[in-house]
Symmetry: C2
Subunit: 269 residues, 2 copies
């Protein structure tokens, strides 16, 4: 089901600024029995991202009701897109803002089902992410870098591609955030220059800190990943997955993925 | 009038990858009496931009017929958007590509009419463009940087904002390319790291070279603009305009804008 500004519709205006300029933000979240998972975090992130682009964010209760309306009855995924609405030609944001709100539901993809393998294979992408602090961390609709990076492989055995920025620092996966453990401490890249700071990442950091696991958010080179004891990726749809193989390098389980998976699921909104 | 895949329609699929990811390219061109101006250059640029993103480009004759179909009878503007079409959720480009082709016409905006002032006022933007050589020069649908830069001012007296990259080099205007003349030679920024290499810029460089004007495409700092004898901006809709004032700096005409305006108009496809 698709809702566009509360109405059932499968189309948007050809003049929408989301299409013209990618002028908007989005969220992809899991649902179970018609309810969103991690809703408080998801809404907080949507509101923060909208604010960063000076977009009006719909009120929480009304949006939640719409998420529940479109959600599949079993397990599923709901995507929320919020754009600056239809506008005249030209980059200047219209004075009177009438945002477009699009909600669409899909069944849970096979790779996200509870019986999907926890271990995944990844590769390094050759594309380097550009650094734009004004857009870093935001899940906005300008995602051509992700599209280009994802088009670097079509081997279905490869689950994810890892990306560095143009300075060589590791940023994360094409569709996920990256974590690794070294000597009992948890590491994840700083995303103040590029990348998307996902809700699963926020929850994982919070859960790890609550459990007393020392965490580091900083700048790291690929060597740090290769030297890790365990490498993981996460997002709101797939949860936490262990990177068992990264190009020619492979790791045996060190137990951290299960620990963090439990921590993520235990975390309370 | 709006055509979507040759059909009159004012909507596109809510699943279009142009909306989801900005996965597409566009052109904005002038029309006169139902015919596009500079068509050969416009089509060549569209085809090159599409190829850079591995998008299938419509054939030239069919697209030209559609441009003429939507064009206003007098003077107008036609925008062509080309996206990777509707797709399932996920960054991976679909194996079978069915691009979406959107053409829409609007009347010529007041600032582009033949009687609009040649002299304009510009300002420096604070936003710094990120550098992504894989996307540089392409007129793609990821234009949030332009939107953010354009939202830095709402004074209607200011016609354009000038942008530097994150290394401090001048790149161009929010909606235009930048040229300047110093001691009889023509300068314009290198766009291999960011910016959009517009058709007016291509034609202006070609026309200047044909007239024996020495041209330089390179990396320059804002000081070079301030020290110029004449500063100009250009695009396919507004043609060439003289920057008479840039924040607190103003210039008297040195004659170059008229020369280049004539050269641009004289240039043959």
């Amino acid at each position: 089901m698709i809702l566009v500004n509360s109405q059932r519709s499968d189309t948007v205006s050809a003049l929408d600024r989301g299409l013209a300029y990618g002028d908007g933000v989005f969220r992809t979240l899991r649902t179970h029995a018609g309810q969103p998972l991690w809703w408080r975090d998801q809404y907080a992130k949507l509101a923060a991202d909208a604010a960063a682009l000076a977009l009006a964010c719909p009120d929480e209760a009304g949006l939640l009701a719409e998420v529940c309306q479109v959600a599949e009855t079993g397990q599923g995924v709901v995507k929320i897109m919020l754009t600056r609405g239809a506008g005249a030609r030209g980059y200047a944001p219209p004075a009177a803002q009438a945002c477009t709100r699009i909600l669409l539901s899909t069944p849970l993809p096979p790779h996200a089902r509870p019986d999907a393998a926890v271990d995944v294979t990844a590769r390094w992408c050759t594309l380097r992410l550009s650094r734009q602090p004004r857009l870093a961390g935001i899940k906005h609709l300008n995602r051509l870098e992700n599209v280009l990076a994802r088009s670097e492989w079509d081997d279905p055995e490869i689950f994810e591609g890892l990306l560095c920025d143009d300075g060589g620092a590791v940023i994360g996966g094409v569709m996920s955030n990256l974590f690794w453990v070294k000597e009992g401490e948890l590491f994840t890249p700083d995303l103040s220059q590029c990348g998307v700071a996902g809700v699963a990442r926020t929850r994982l950091l919070r859960a790890a800190m609550r459990r007393g696991i020392r965490t580091h958010v900083g700048r790291s080179l690929p060597d740090a990943i290769l030297a890790a004891d365990e490498v993981m990726i996460c997002n709101s749809v797939i949860g936490v997955r262990r990177v068992a193989r990264l190009d020619d390098v492979s790791w045996s389980p060190a137990g951290w993925t299960d620990t963090l998976k439990t921590a993520l699921d235990d975390d309370v909104d």
